[in-house]
């Protein structure tokens, strides 16, 4: 269980998050979605202690504030949006860094398996700096997976906290990575991902939190969040949610009616709380 309570975070002088309560369960994928600048990445960064925040974050019932870096590293892997490297490491050298701490140490077979899992077999000797953005992101994901390779150790789930893991990937690799996350969750691990793609979120996540202007506008199973009213309110344009006959999964397409695609002015004053469950 990952619990963040009453999270206020500020970047510079601006308060980005206004007292968010966020919970994610192990064994499922929790997606954090929302418009640009809504604070979804900041929420993940507060959970991983990368921004100044007030509030408490508990991971498997332990307050993360009192934990050492190596204790946290053994429990959770964190994937940033993009990573630039200062020196010319090769792909396998980057992935092997995942073995440095945590509980996967010494398992020299894991890096190659992690690379294969993200579809980068044969990339071991390539230089990280010469890869495309999507390949770099998958290399980093392989490194993070190395760090928390077993989803459950001693009955305690381990966590993948991912900031836009599929944003720079092509559609095939998006599905590959989402399936990877699904598999990790299915084996008992916890996955929290900041997502841009609502359809992938609806397709793979069991729980979705919609963040708008630093508050949670709606949260719950995909149906509770990926619906016409929440999305139109959140993104400030008319959006229609449909279900394809094949899978019955929610998907959303913007539709071009008059000036419907222009952002509505009332977007800035959304009545919060009305969609949030349990408020």
């Amino acid at each position: 269980m990952l619990e963040a309570q009453n999270i206020h975070a500020r970047i510079g002088k601006k308060e980005i998050l206004h007292g968010i309560d966020f919970t994610a369960k192990a064994g499922q994928i929790t997606a954090i979605v929302g418009p640009n600048g809504s604070g979804k990445s900041t929420l993940l960064k507060a959970i991983t202690d990368e921004v100044d925040f007030t509030g408490t974050v508990r991971l498997n019932d332990q307050d993360t504030a009192g934990m050492k870096p190596w204790e946290l590293a053994a429990l959770r892997g964190v994937l940033p949006q993009a990573t630039t490297l200062a020196f010319p490491f090769t792909v396998i050298e980057v992935v092997r860094m995942g073995l440095m701490s945590g509980l996967s140490g010494g398992r020299e077979d894991i890096p190659a398996r992690a690379l294969a899992a993200v579809g980068l077999e044969g990339y071991s000797g390539r230089f990280y700096q010469e890869l495309s953005g999507g390949e770099q992101q998958r290399t980093q994901l392989a490194r993070v997976m190395c760090q928390v390779w077993q989803p459950v150790i001693d009955d305690a789930p381990r966590w993948l906290l991912l900031d836009e893991p599929v944003a720079s990937l092509d559609i095939g690799h998006q599905l590959l990575v989402m399936h990877l996350m699904k598999g990790y969750a299915a084996r008992g691990g916890g996955v929290v991902a900041v997502m841009h793609d609502l359809n992938l979120s609806a397709m793979f996540a069991e729980h979705i939190a919609m963040i708008v202007n630093g508050d949670i506008l709606a949260s719950g199973p995909p149906d509770a969040v990926i619906n016409d009213s929440v999305l139109s309110l959140a993104y400030g344009c008319d959006l229609k949610v449909n279900t394809p006959p094949v899978s019955g999964q929610n998907y959303v397409l913007p539709h071009l009616v008059d000036d419907a695609l222009y952002l509505k002015p009332e977007r800035t004053k959304i009545p919060f709380a009305i969609f949030s469950e349990g408020e």
Partner: protein, 351 residues
């Protein structure tokens, strides 16, 4: 799942390099002992020792009091320059960081000059405690202060701006130079003599006292640095990611800054400013065996010591019986390499 065939593992190459570089250092050390202006023969002396004959006074002085301390000091200074270069590049996440370039050496120099000129003003009690360690201690404080300042100025939110670092380094160097100038102006004749000898940037004045003063500090600093390999590898990913990998980032940074300051301070205190070893050595090693800091730091110590000894031998034989200051040799050999690094990877310094 298929086993991925690795093209080649640079870790093994890097570990084998320990042995090759140690061999290189050994050969160069012997050469350095055997070569000198006086014409004293190392082999002759060894033969005499082997056959039980006593050494002549000349041989004793040349080998024991001149060449040997110079050799040891050269090894320590070369190793410390290369290692502090490598540590600083890891800390600043940039292959162009070097104590000599970004004003840390100048800061250490200011400390040393302050100690030489104003040391007499200290109460006798303090002098009694620090004694011969005063100059290296002051150099360490100067190096530490300038490294801290530089890091504070050029790092925001865990990201170091290269442009700010290099420019702040220039400003810092200029400021330290100006303050040093004021102190030189204030100095009396005897102190000026000390300063001149110190500032030559040479191993020529090596004595057992200097070895005793500098080498323990350098050995400790290099030992600490060698344990920072993992931490610096993590820092190459940025501070936040390093922390997520389980690295105690703040502790690694503090240790790195102290190490750079101690190694640079001790080296500067006994040899003046010798440039470019700290840039060239880690860069060559990264090309050869990859950027993994764990083997890199050890290899840098070995190769740095070897290169400085080679430069020292060149500086001794090129205009015998006189000597070229070693700083000139390292600059002539190192500056083109530095330019080559810049030109090869222009993207590094996106000002």
């Amino acid at each position: 799942m298929t086993e991925t065939a690795l093209p080649y593992d640079r870790r093994r190459t890097a570990r084998q390099a320990h042995i090759w570089l140690a061999g290189l250092l050994f050969v160069i050390s012997i050469t350095s002992l055997a070569i000198g202006a006086s014409g004293t023969s190392l082999w002759g002396a060894l033969l005499k020792l082997a056959s039980g004959h006593p050494l002549s006074r000349m041989e004793q002085v040349v080998l024991w009091d001149i060449r040997l301390p110079r050799l040891i000091l050269g090894i320590c200074v070369g190793a410390s320059l290369a290692v502090s270069g490598a540590v600083m590049q890891g800390l600043f996440r940039n292959p162009l960081a070097d104590p000599g370039l970004v004003g840390v050496s100048a800061g250490a120099g200011l400390g040393a000059i302050t100690a030489i000129v104003l040391g007499g003003l200290l109460p006798l009690g303090v002098m009694g405690v620090v004694g011969i360690w005063l100059v290296p201690l002051a150099a360490f404080l100067g190096g530490w202060g300038s490294t801290m300042l530089l890091y504070r100025v050029s790092t925001r939110r865990g990201r170091t701006s290269v442009a700010t670092m290099l420019l702040a380094g220039i400003a810092l160097g200029a400021l330290a130079g100006a303050l040093s100038g004021i102190l030189v102006y204030m100095a009396d004749d005897a102190q000026l003599r000390d300063l001149t000898f110190w500032g030559l940037g040479s191993l020529a004045g090596a004595t057992w006292t200097k070895v005793l003063v500098a080498c323990p500090v350098i050995v400790i600093a290099i030992t600490v640095a060698a344990s920072l390999g993992n931490g610096l590898n993590g820092l190459a990913f940025g501070e936040a990611t390093a922390a997520h990998m389980g690295i105690p980032v703040q502790r690694v940074k503090n240790a790195a800054i102290l190490t750079v300051a101690a190694a640079t301070g001790a080296a500067v205190a006994v040899s003046g400013g010798i440039g470019f070893i700290g840039i060239v050595v880690p860069h060559l090693l990264r090309l050869a065996t990859g950027p993994n800091h764990e083997p890199l730091l050890i290899n840098a110590a070995l190769l740095g010591a070897s290169l400085l000894l080679i430069a020292d031998v060149i500086s001794r034989i090129i205009i015998t019986p006189a000597e070229l200051p070693i700083g000139i040799v390292t600059a002539i050999l190192g500056a083109p390499v530095f330019l080559w690094i810049l030109l090869r990877r222009r993207g590094l310094v996106d000002l």
